[in-house]
């Protein structure tokens, strides 16, 4: 589905308002629409582009979580299986479930349910949006003088810089099987295994990541090392790329974006070659991979020994233990002895 995002076509849209849960007993839960929203071509294309943009950069492949019995996949499957299914009733069920999932921590907002097609196949997109504020300018005349009329708009949603934007796009696998899709949560700092992402992906959508993050992370690591070893000839670049890979794996970010990695850390033609290498191996290069380094932890660890004279020795712990002779002298100084062939000597800052 990811590679077919360019074929997305929007057909119909319905919007429901889901209020934030408060202690106020008289606070309404929902404001449900009884009709689809009228849309024109511009609106449909605007939704199209926002969905593509969001799913293209940070979406994960998801499947319905059959370990629990969540209502959302059932509701979506029920809608997708029949071309005459009622959008109003199905989308109202989704909105009600969203309200029930929420706690007082979660913001209120709008639930947009979008009937669409991807590569010609009937699909459903679910968007959770929050209201945003902005100031609108309009020229006016006051006492014969030109000025700007400023109006605070509090009901805007889904602009180009929208920071809080959750979207899922779903189809029935092979046209009639289980529910599969892409899901993205643009809330800042979102990681697939954090509580925030947990709410949208797991509690509301009733889905789970299709591929275990640790498996995908290991695949990325192994394939990238394979590319560096097989396709990069310059030993200096090999070393730089390897260092960048380790830094990427050890960084605090919760996702890996192969194309961003290529852009930021590889040079020249190596970028495109790297992306093509991963594409050929079947690893998605558009969008993000959820990061979990547990399967490659041993490969990432390095021990660094810094000497007072400025010499530093960096090695994997097992190499340091097994192949570097370490002696502590009587005066407390350490003696390290390394015997091996030299791969590379270079200057660096």
């Amino acid at each position: 589905m990811r590679s077919d995002l360019g074929t997305l076509q929007i057909d119909r849209v319905i919007v429901h308002q889901v209020f934030k849960k408060t202690k106020e007993k008289e606070q309404p839960a929902l404001s449900l629409s009884g009709l689809e929203s009228p849309t024109d071509l511009e609106i449909r294309n605007y939704f199209r582009e926002r969905i593509i943009k969001s799913l293209g950069t940070g979406a994960f492949d998801v499947v319905e979580d059959t370990n629990s019995n969540p209502p959302v996949p059932r509701i979506m499957r029920s809608f997708l299986e029949r071309s005459d299914a009622d959008l109003v009733s199905h989308s109202q069920e989704l909105a009600q479930h969203l309200y029930q999932c929420q706690t007082r921590v979660n913001s209120g907002g709008l639930l947009c349910v979008v009937v669409c097609r991807v590569a010609g196949q009937r699909s459903l997109a679910v968007l959770k949006l929050e209201m945003e504020q902005a100031v609108r300018l309009a020229t006016t005349q006051v006492d014969g003088q030109a000025t700007f009329n400023l109006t605070l708009m509090k009901d805007l949603v889904l602009n180009k810089n929208t920071r809080v934007f959750k979207v899922g796009l779903f189809q029935l696998e092979n046209g009639g099987g289980s529910l599969v899709g892409l899901a993205s949560d643009k809330q800042q700092g979102s990681q697939p295994n954090t509580e925030v992402a947990e709410f949208f992906l797991s509690q509301f959508l009733g889905c789970r990541l299709r591929d275990a993050p640790e498996v995908l992370t290991k695949r990325f690591y192994v394939l990238t090392e394979g590319f560096i070893n097989e396709d990069v000839k310059d030993p200096l670049l090999k070393s730089q790329y390897e260092t960048a890979l380790l830094a990427e794996m050890n960084s605090a970010t919760g996702t890996i974006s192969p194309s961003v990695f290529a852009l930021n850390h590889l040079q020249g033609d190596d970028r495109q070659a790297f992306v093509a290498y991963l594409d050929q191996a079947g690893l998605p290069t558009q969008g993000a991979i959820p990061k979990d380094t547990q399967l490659v932890e041993n490969r990432l660890r390095r021990v660094q020994v810094d000497f007072a004279n400025g010499v530093s020795v960096i090695a994997p712990p097992e190499v340091l233990e097994q192949q570097v002779q370490q002696d502590v002298l009587e005066d407390g100084r350490m003696h390290l002895q390394i015997t091996d062939s030299v791969k590379d000597i270079r200057g660096r800052r």
């Binding site: 360019g6 076509q9 495109q272």
Partner: protein, 325 residues
């Protein structure tokens, strides 16, 4: 082999030879287009009457083997200086015997036919599937310029097809025209060199190629100045040889993505807020580079134009740009 046996065999096998000729022409046309070489191809399996008359005239002992021009292909180059490149293609894409350069036999004082002839067969790696039936076939391949071809055809009609011997004066006129042929070829190459040195020629040429692929997809008018500016900024993403063959590169992209392009243009056809670059011919160039060299495109774009323009087009195409640091 008797004359009747020869005739009967040729009547039976001639259709296969015609298909063989078509295949050779298709290979040459594709290769030349990819290399940005303007040329035409012509070809046929010899007419039955022509084959029989040739045997009557020459009385070959083994006419089937001796007549290497049962199938003939002519490659007609527009410009004389592209002939070496065409010869390289022939040598690379076929099992070729030759060349037989007719001009070398003339020396410097004589005028006459100057074609370059090869005998060609298909390479082993091309003799697969339906082409297997062409294994034992060969064709005569001639390379002419357009001017040489004109002279060759007309002089052949005048000197060989008329039932009487050509008078000396007429023969001299025919040869004088041949001198003009050499002048025509040289002057056209010189003129083309001058035109190509005009600033902006390459961009205009590329725009012509893009326009030809754009209008079958969309009928919106476009901003020509913007097109030339963007083409100028992005042409560095291509090798010089690729710039000459940009039409073939875009054709390959359009062929691969035809349905998706058709759908994209249909979605945005009446949308006034659609991607600004979509209804410009260079959109095809940008989308092709997005798939083939996204990082080169990003770097080239970032230096010159707002990223929002590229981002809007890329998003509409279903592509997410990595954020530049």
């Amino acid at each position: 082999m008797t004359l009747d046996e020869l005739r009967d065999r040729w009547i039976e096998e001639r259709p296969k030879y015609n298909k063989f000729v078509d295949l050779i022409r298709a290979i040459i046309a594709h290769e030349c287009r990819t290399a940005g070489i303007y040329c035409y191809t012509d070809g046929r399996a010899k007419e039955v009457a022509s084959l029989v008359k040739k045997q009557i005239k020459n009385r070959y002992e083994d006419p089937w083997e001796r007549m290497g021009d049962k199938a003939g292909v002519r490659v007609i180059a527009v410009f004389r200086d592209t002939v070496p490149a065409i010869e390289e293609i022939v040598a690379r894409r076929f099992e070729a015997t030759g060349p037989d350069r007719k001009a070398e036999k003339l020396g410097v004082e004589k005028l006459g036919y100057q074609g370059i002839h090869y005998q060609v067969r298909l390479r082993e790696e091309d003799l697969t599937g339906e082409a297997e039936v062409f294994r034992d076939l060969e064709a005569e391949l001639q390379i002419h310029t357009k001017a040489q071809n004109l002279w060759s055809d007309v002089s052949h009609q005048l000197a060989y097809k008329v039932p009487v011997e050509t008078p000396q004066e007429a023969a001299r006129l025919i040869h004088l025209v041949n001198a003009l042929v050499e002048v025509i070829d040289k002057e056209f190459v010189d003129a083309r060199t001058m035109i190509r040195s005009i600033p902006g020629y390459e961009q205009h040429k590329m725009l012509d190629e893009l326009e030809a692929r754009y209008y079958p997809l969309a009928s919106h008018d476009f901003d020509r100045e913007l097109s030339l500016e963007i083409i100028q900024g992005l042409k560095g993403l291509f090798q010089p040889g690729e710039i000459n063959g940009i039409g073939a590169i875009i054709d390959q992209f359009v062929d691969k993505r035809r349905e998706r392009l058709r759908q994209l243009y249909e979605i945005y056809r009446d949308d006034p807020r659609g991607p600004e670059l979509l209804f410009q011919p260079e959109a095809l160039l940008i989308l092709e580079r997005l798939e083939k060299d996204q990082f080169g495109l990003l770097r080239a774009w970032q230096q010159k134009w707002p990223m929002e323009l590229l981002d809007h087009l890329a998003t509409a195409w279903g592509y997410s740009l990595p954020e530049l640091s």
